[in-house]
């Protein structure tokens, strides 16, 4: 009995365990550099786009393993438009709105072909990948355009000042950050307890009390540790706030809303979903329109982080987003996957990238490793499903 339980836990948290092992590996390989406060903060800022894009990709994948290959090009296209607008002296708010709207329009355009004409997603988005890469070059005229609007950079996580200032004037440590960490951990425990009580009340199944307690303690300890680390280096970055915001919103959408559940239903069995009266076309359309919007946001974060827009930006981003989802346990056939899983997958990829960079491994071999990690994750996923059946 005990043994089976341990096996179950291992299976459920394979990727979390893999993440821990990878961190330990790099901790040794980089002589502890990977867990420096500065490196943790960099990891978050550098991978903000992965979290945002992978969230959108997750929704597409849920509908049946469909992907969007065009996101990298859309990031570049949207970023290019924003950078050009701002360098022409346009208001930053206007630029942000235009960027988000263009992202959304591009997403709707692709969503229309995919949902209503039934063009296979990989072909429709492959066409988009080429077209928008070309258009970004046209917009930027082949040059790099720098972004100098300080308000824009601060809000979207670029430059040195894009951190939440310390209201408490900590001497060696950012007190605001530390307090925020403790508060978040407290809120997390509260929510866990509340959910458990409400599930009990409604008569739903609940996990064992010790299991839940251990989980809550481990996660809150992790949160506090993370914020303690961040507090040692400038504190909470703007990028982290954007990531958290997106993750919270989409966790809510996928778990608690009707449209969120439809995404899973369509991926599980499209025909059954359609026959039960759900407008499946609209679900596909929603997934791709939403992907465009999030690609717009990722474009904003990308040009803010680099303080410029270049025609080569966003190359390979689609790959990072897809890999994060699959490593995080989303099914390549749709219907299965969660925002939390994707976060673990994205973090794993980020840690591997950063660890290899710190260890000074050739960038070319990094992409080989990325490809292999993706393949292993997907084989693992398919194999473990087979066993279940």
């Amino acid at each position: 009995m005990e043994n089976i339980k341990i096996a179950d836990v291992l299976k459920k948290y394979t990727m979390v365990i893999a993440l821990i092992l990878v961190i330990i590996f790099f901790q040794v390989g980089t002589e502890g550099k990977i867990l420096f406060a500065q490196n943790i903060n960099n990891l978050i800022s550098q991978n903000a786009y992965v979290f945002v894009l992978a969230t959108g990709m997750l929704l597409c994948i849920l509908t049946g393993g469909n992907i969007d290959l065009s996101v990298g090009s859309i990031v570049c296209f949207v970023g290019g438009i924003g950078a050009v607008m701002m360098s022409n002296g346009n208001n930053m708010i206007l630029a942000v709105i235009v960027m988000l709207v263009i992202g959304l329009l591009v997403g709707m355009f692709q969503g229309f072909w995919i949902a209503y004409i039934k063009v296979p997603p990989f072909i429709a988005t492959l066409a988009g990948m080429y077209a928008f890469r070309g258009l970004s070059n046209v917009v930027l005229q082949g040059y790099a355009v720098s972004v100098t609007d300080t308000a824009f950079l601060n809000i979207f996580g670029g430059g040195a000042e894009c951190y939440i200032p310390d209201f408490f004037g900590g001497e060696t440590m950012n007190m605001t950050c530390l307090i925020a960490g403790v508060l978040i951990a407290a809120v997390y425990i509260l929510v866990t307890v509340k959910t458990r009580i409400s599930r009990k009340k409604k008569g739903y199944e609940t996990g064992s009390l010790t299991g839940d307690a251990v989980k809550a303690v481990v996660i809150s300890a992790l949160i506090i540790w993370l914020f303690y680390k961040l507090a040692n280096f400038r504190g909470i970055s703007a990028a982290l706030i954007w990531i958290a915001l997106i993750l919270l919103i989409y966790s809510y959408i996928t778990n608690k809303t009707t449209i969120g559940r439809y995404l899973y239903a369509v991926g599980g069995n499209e025909k059954a979903t359609r026959l039960s009266g759900v407008n499946t076309k609209r679900v596909y359309f929603f997934a791709y329109a939403n992907m465009g919007l999030l690609a717009g946001l990722a474009g904003i974060l990308t040009i803010a982080r680099a303080a410029s827009a270049q025609p080569t930006y966003g190359q390979g981003y689609e790959m990072d987003a897809i890999a994060a989802c699959f490593i995080g346990g989303a099914s390549a056939y749709g219907g299965v996957g969660s925002v939390m899983g994707m976060v673990v997958g994205a973090t794993l990829m980020g840690v591997i990238n950063q660890g290899m960079s710190i260890m000074g491994i050739n960038a070319n071999y990094q992409s080989v490793v990325k490809g292999l990690v993706l393949l292993i994750a997907i084989i693992f996923d398919v194999m473990s499903k087979k066993e279940k059946n």
Binding site: V119, I123, L126, A127, V368, I378
Partner: protein, 389 residues
């Protein structure tokens, strides 16, 4: 009248090809129609025909694609460069090694896709990433410029250059003779085929239709032969393209295994239940794709006389577009080698025409994307109509 419409519908892409060709001939003031550009059309697009043939076989099995072929072209080129230039091995043995690398990769890929049920686009996406990185790393490790050259003459003469080369502008007799012989063969094959069908009591097209087809085919072949005769002779690479196209035309239309590719794409489950080893067919599709990718790499390396890190970029896109534009179904089960050839030629004409007109490379990318999307949409809508009939 109804007859005319059927002819138009059946041969839409051929008419589009003719119109596009005329359009560019007009826009470039006849430049498109010069002997040198006929030669360019073939040598520049040889890789598309070869890759698209492999892609066709993959797509037939159910709209499956190979995203890794472009990166693999680059990788195989790098291997060839290391063998022939760095290690100064013999041409024959190097070619064998390159083929072997293709067979090994194809077997692994085929195994993963066919026997482990990994979705093709994910398996090949991993290869897309890994081989580009690996090839770049190999090239930069073996050369300070990141490009390996010069390749031995014995290699170049097999895959590039011209047969019985004469000076440009001088009428090359062997080229024209080969053209005339080809015409004779085509006429003989068409007549024999018709006789055979009549004997077996199959349906045959009207005599007039066949003669019309024959006249058009002979005219096109003679035109090409005549034009190429003035550009210095028959490009060697054309022989490779024709060989590949003919072999696969035969396989897809005359052999049992070729028909299996169509039946799997039409209905995989039914095919499996009728006792056909569908996994083996999927395996073969991807093994075959890898081998053809190697052949394509031979021609690409020979054309540039060097192995480059950028070789093969976007080749997967060209191959997929050629198939889709040539009427290969994005859902599998229908498509012909001849259709693919028309599609590849159409894309080649558009590319060459735009280059001659001096269209910006970025807009070219946009137009490529639009052509791909338009072709898929056209195909899907056209099929919908057919179903209604």
């Amino acid at each position: 009248m109804k007859n005319a419409i059927t002819v138009l519908r059946k041969n839409t892409m051929i008419f589009v090809l003719v119109l596009v060709f005329l359009f560019f001939t007009l826009m470039t003031k006849g430049q498109m129609f010069t002997a040198l550009n006929f030669n360019a059309l073939i040598t520049q697009n040889a890789y598309v025909y070869i890759l698209a043939t492999g892609m066709l076989m993959c797509m037939l099995t159910g709209g499956n694609i190979d995203l890794s072929c472009g990166s693999f072209v680059c990788f195989v080129g790098a291997i060839g460069g290391i063998c022939m230039v760095t290690k100064e091995m013999g041409t024959g043995i190097s070619i064998l090694i390159m083929l072997l690398v293709g067979i090994v990769y194809g077997s692994i890929l085929g195994f993963i896709i066919a026997y482990m049920n990994i979705p093709p686009w994910i398996a090949t996406l991993a290869g897309y990433l890994a081989f580009r990185g690996w090839a770049t790393a190999l090239l930069s490790a073996n050369s300070s410029t990141g490009s390996i050259a010069p390749f031995p003459k014995s290699y170049l003469s097999i895959f590039s250059g011209k047969i019985f080369e004469t000076a440009i502008g001088v009428f090359n007799v062997p080229c024209m003779v080969i053209g005339v012989i080809t015409c004779a063969v085509v006429i003989a094959v068409m007549i024999m085929g018709r006789k055979n069908r009549v004997k077996k009591g199959y349906e045959v097209e009207s005599m007039a239709a066949m003669i019309a087809k024959m006249v058009i085919a002979v005219a096109v072949i003679l035109l090409f032969a005549y034009k190429l005769a003035f550009s210095g002779g028959l490009p060697t690479v054309l022989l490779w393209v024709v060989a590949v196209v003919l072999v696969y035309q035969f396989i897809t239309s005359k052999t049992t295994i070729g028909r299996y590719f169509y039946t799997i794409g039409g209905n995989k489950e039914a095919t499996r239940l009728s006792g056909i080893d569908t996994k083996k067919i999927m395996f073969m599709a991807y093994l075959n794709m890898a081998v053809l990718t190697v052949i394509s790499a031979f021609t690409v390396v020979a054309r540039f006389q060097a192995a480059n890190a950028t070789a093969g970029t976007n080749f997967e896109m060209d191959a997929i577009s050629a198939c889709v534009v040539g009427g290969v179904s994005a859902y599998g089960g229908s498509g012909t080698v001849f259709g693919m050839v028309v599609g590849a030629t159409l894309i080649g004409v558009i590319n060459l025409g735009m280059s001659l007109m001096g269209v910006d490379a970025n807009w070219q990318r946009v137009i490529k994307g639009v052509v791909l999307l338009a072709a898929v949409v056209f195909e899907i809508l056209n099929n919908k109509d057919k179903m209604k009939d």
